[in-house]
Amino acid sequence: MEKVICSYCGKDTVSIKDHEIEISEPYAESSTIKIQERVCSHCGFSEDDGSNDLVIQKELAALKRVSMVNVLDELNAMGHTTASMERALGLPARTIARWKNERSMYPSAAALALMRMIRTFPWLLAVADMHFEGEAARNILLQHAAKELEDIRSKHPDVVVADISKPF
C-alpha cells in the first residue's frame, strides 16, 4: 500500500478522515457525499485527498442529469413541447428528447446551461423563435418585464416597484 505523506511536513503520520459535504446543482436536489481529508498528527495540517475529485465528479454527473430532466419536465409542463423547443433553438430533431430520455447520455455543460437559462426565462424561446432579431427581442423582454411588475404589484401592493419609465 502506498504510504500517505503529509504535503506540508512530509511525515507519514497522516490519517484519513471521512467528511460529509453537500453538493447541489440548479434545478436538482442537493446530495450529501463523503469525501476524505488527510490530517497529519505531526503538524496538524489538513488537506484535500486526491481521490475526492472522482467521487465529486461522479455525483455531479448524476445531479446534472436530474437537473436536465427536471428542467425539461417543467418546460413541457408549461406547454413548451420538445419539438417546438428544438425548432426554435435550431437543434437537430430529437436532440432534447435524447437529453431527457436516454439514461446513458450525459448532456454537455453548454446544453445544460442553455436549458437552465430557458427554464429561468422561458420567454427566451420566443426570442429564439424571432431569430434573435434585436427589436423583437427587446419588445419580448419589455412585455415580460411589464407583466412581472404587474404581478409583483398585484401580489404585494405595499412593495414599491422601480419605475422603469425613468431613465437610468
Binding site: Y8, I21, G44
Partner: protein
C-alpha cells in the same frame, strides 16, 4: 505584522497551477478550501479550481497582505500571500504559501470576499436598477 509586499512572485504560483504535463500538480488544497470554492464560486473539484486559475479566472489580482502561517511547525514559519480577485459578479480572496520543506504550493483559502467593494458589473447593474437583491448592501 503583515508585510506590505508579496512574499512570492504570483507568476510562480500561477505557473505551478498550470502543472507540468504528466507530472502530478504540486499544488495542494488545504482542508475546507474545496467547500468554499464550491459554495462561493461553483468550482466543485480541485481540477475545476486549477482549470479556472489556468484560464485566467483570477481577474484584477490585487495584493492584500503577507502574513505568517500561524499553525506552522516550521521555524521561521512560511509566509502566506493574500490577494483579492474579481470574477464576474464576485470579488474573491485567495491566499497561498509555498512549503519549502515539501516544495509544494498550498492554497490556504479561496472564498468570496464580501468585505470588498462592488465590482464594475455591480455598479452598472445598480445604476440600471437591476441589481439582484442578494447583491444589495455589498458596498
Amino acid at each position: 505584522m503583515p508585510k506590505p509586499q508579496p512574499e512570492y512572485d504570483i507568476k510562480d504560483f500561477l505557473r505551478a497551477c498550470k502543472g507540468n504535463g504528466r507530472q502530478p500538480s504540486n499544488v495542494v488544497l488545504m482542508g475546507g478550501v474545496l467547500e468554499t470554492a464550491a459554495s462561493h464560486f461553483s468550482l466543485k473539484t480541485k481540477e475545476a479550481i486549477l482549470a479556472f486559475i489556468n484560464a485566467g479566472g483570477l481577474e484584477d489580482l490585487e495584493f492584500v497582505n503577507s502574513i505568517e502561517y500561524r499553525r506552522s511547525f516550521e521555524v521561521p514559519p512560511p509566509v502566506c500571500d493574500a490577494y483579492h480577485f474579481k470574477s464576474g459578479f464576485s470579488v474573491g480572496n485567495i491566499s497561498f504559501f509555498f512549503s519549502e520543506s515539501n516544495r509544494k504550493w498550498i492554497i490556504k483559502s479561496f472564498h468570496r470576499d464580501d468585505a470588498c467593494g462592488p465590482t464594475i458589473m455591480e455598479f452598472a447593474l445598480r445604476k440600471a436598477g437591476s441589481l439582484p437583491a442578494c447583491f444589495e448592501g455589498s458596498e
